[in-house]
């Protein structure tokens, strides 16, 4: 049966809650289904004790999830938009990420923060950002960014079972995407990138919704005789550098694409790592594709003008090959 991204996340949460009584959901309107309906109906099965609506207090609810995680619960917190994680930064960056280290390993924070990124439909500058690079900068956090419903199912299950805080980044343009959940699907490995399409001329490194975009670009480029290898990172921390190096050694050319602002983005980090680890393997400079250095605009034609898509990836690849 085909399930949407939203349905599949809900199923993963439901199954994990069945498996482990320590899992609690909390967030704004989660018992009411959440802003996107991800948690719809879970309260009916698991009760208001385990599926808790909270006030609009991002700082305090993130702190509460962290404090509860220190004391035996495994909270899954929803921050409705990653733009609002700004209000929870003290807890995420100063407390949750560092607790294990600062306590000399006495405590850990098994918490998942589900949040949502991306521009779509005029959500504009404060509901569209892709802020993931801020979090890969913080030791102690794990950052997961699935690219499809089935991927999200397996990665969320794994994230929930880890002992350290995970930022689980969903993309709003993927929410309606449908896939069959294969029989026997289970947790997927954290920290292992996936070759989403094998190729030999160029490696395109992507994650989250950009994987779908890169696959479309690869299709188009194939018609021109350019063979692209598309790598879905799946997790930004830990970063599977081995898989990237293997691919780069084969293709000798790299494009890194993300919807986030190009400056200071995940691509900058990967480019630097590959540049120092695989300099000899590269036939051309690493190229990044990302958002120009501007906020996400409101008007649809402006939004479209700003967002990098398959056209930008194709252009980058063609220039690399030329």
């Amino acid at each position: 049966m085909e399930l949407t991204f939203i349905d599949i996340i809900r199923r993963a949460l439901d199954e994990e809650m069945d498996r482990d009584a320590a899992i609690y959901l909390l967030g704004e309107d989660v018992a009411a289904g959440g802003a996107f309906g991800v948690t719809k109906g879970l309260v009916d099965k698991h009760g208001t004790n385990r599926v808790k609506n909270t006030p609009i207090s991002e700082a305090a609810i993130t702190g509460m999830a962290t404090g509860a995680a220190l004391c035996g619960l495994r909270p899954v917190l929803e921050i409705m938009f990653i733009d609002f994680a700004t209000l929870a930064m003290d807890c995420l960056v100063n407390q949750a990420a560092k607790y294990r280290y600062m306590s000399g390993g006495q405590l850990s924070v098994p918490m998942v923060v589900r949040t949502q990124v991306g521009a779509a439909g005029g959500a504009a500058a404060q509901h569209s950002q892709s802020l993931e690079s801020w979090f890969i900068h913080v030791p102690g956090l794990i950052v997961v960014a699935p690219s499809s419903p089935v991927e999200a199912y397996g990665l969320l299950k794994s994230a929930i079972r880890l002992s350290d805080p995970v930022l689980f980044i969903e993309h709003k343009r993927l929410y309606a995407m449908k896939e069959d959940l294969p029989e026997g699907a289970g947790p997927l490995p954290i920290g292992q990138a996936r070759v989403a399409r094998a190729g030999k001329d160029v490696t395109i490194i992507v994650y989250s919704a950009m994987v779908r975009t890169a696959l479309a670009a690869a299709d188009n480029l194939a018609k021109e005789g350019i063979s692209c290898e598309v790598i879905d990172l799946r997790t930004l921390v830990p970063l599977d550098i081995e898989t990237l190096l293997k691919s780069v050694t084969k293709t000798r050319r790299v494009v890194i694409a993300h919807e986030a602002v190009e400056v200071g983005g995940v691509g900058a980090e990967i480019a630097a790592r590959l540049g120092s680890l695989a300099f000899e393997e590269l036939d051309a400079p690493i190229v990044r594709v990302g958002c120009p250095f501007a906020p996400i605009p409101f008007a649809p034609e402006l939004e479209k003008a700003l967002l990098p898509g398959s056209r930008e990836i194709e252009k980058a690849v063609r220039e690399l090959i030329a």
Partner: protein
């Protein structure tokens, strides 16, 4: 208040001195460069720590802030391991990873101090929530200064604690100062306890320099919380006899103010109380000397403790089940 045994009163007296001497050593060694970072002393505020913690069990969960030495000791942590942590040694509570502002001792329920003002409040609420869902009689306690009330998360947490009826004791140590400025420059709300009522939380402002007053108020608040009556805010009016941090020249304090310090000293006040109850000055002097000698021995031992091995610097960033562990260790 009057039903306290002499044994209990002597225990308080010991504990107050224990904290005072502990921090005296911190101050002394900081001056000679042996204490990394900037430790904050609770000198003058010890009665709050001792009076509150006397009513806690090992299972109760404690959170504190940047001025935490007293709370940690009063909750029962080993002074040696605590001192080792403050001077950054391997035998420290956190193996030298935390230091003065980030003391954690799971064995006593001291679940964490934080160097970010007000950063501990919501964590304590989370711990209280965990206790609530586990249906245990455990409670969470959080110590914070009056300065924390200017932070949004203080209000968010009060709201949530009241709304969810969390088993949580908020203890405000109102020393009238936040760093170098007085409360009047931070808020027109003079009493911190006034913030509680709008959120449906019971509260009281008490003399925080009288350990007997603190003990009695904490006892009744904690009994109520354990009985299920929800959170409570205890505002303890106190006085920071030391600077904001070790090395603070305290230009903002007048000579007159400094001269009146002794009257506020919680140790002196308990001493006078005990004398009035019939203890002899010699007896009390003997208790003080014993604690002093014990603490000196602890500090001498701690100063000889091993420093952490630099090769272990990447330990504890992530848990054992973190898939990127090996890769992470390579950074070093």
């Amino acid at each position: 208040m009057t039903d306290l045994s002499l044994k209990m009163l002597h225990r308080f007296y010991e504990q107050l001195w224990q904290i005072r001497f502990f921090e005296g050593h911190v101050q002394r060694l900081a001056a000679s460069g042996e204490v990394p970072g900037f430790p904050h002393l609770s000198t003058g505020q010890e009665a709050v720590a001792v009076g509150v913690c006397a009513n806690l069990t090992e299972g109760d969960m404690l959170f504190s802030g940047h001025r935490a030495h007293g709370h940690v000791l009063a909750k029962g942590s080993d002074p040696y391991a605590t001192f080792c942590e403050v001077i950054g040694r391997q035998d420290g509570l956190c193996q030298g990873r935390g230091g003065s502002m980030h003391l954690v001792d799971v064995s006593t329920g001291m679940l964490g101090a934080t160097g970010v003002v007000a950063g501990n409040l919501s964590l304590a609420a989370g711990a209280a929530w965990a206790a609530q869902v586990a249906n245990k009689e455990k409670i969470a306690v959080v110590f914070f200064g009056d300065g924390a009330t200017g932070s949004g998360v203080f209000h968010e947490t009060l709201n949530l604690a009241g709304l969810w009826q969390l088993p949580l004791l908020f203890v405000c140590e109102n020393n009238g100062m936040a760093e170098f400025t007085g409360r009047e420059e931070h808020s027109d709300v003079a009493k911190v306890s006034a913030f509680a009522a709008p959120y449906g939380i019971s509260a009281q402002t008490i003399d925080g320099n009288d350990v007997l007053v603190v003990n009695a108020a904490a006892r009744s608040a904690i009994q109520g919380i354990r009985a299920g009556s929800g959170p409570y805010l205890l505002e303890c009016m106190t006085y920071r006899m030391a600077g904001h941090y070790v090395g603070d020249a305290q230009h903002y304090r007048s000579k007159e103010e400094m001269a009146t310090m002794k009257e506020k000293d919680p140790i002196e006040r308990l001493r006078l109380h005990l004398l009035a109850k019939g203890d002899s000055a010699e007896e009390l002097e003997a208790i003080m000397q014993r604690v002093k000698a014990e603490m000196t021995a602890v500090v001498d031992r701690a100063r000889k403790a091993a420093h952490p091995d630099p090769a272990t610097v990447m330990d504890y960033v992530y848990s054992a089940d973190f898939p990127g562990r090996e890769e992470n260790a390579k950074w070093n």
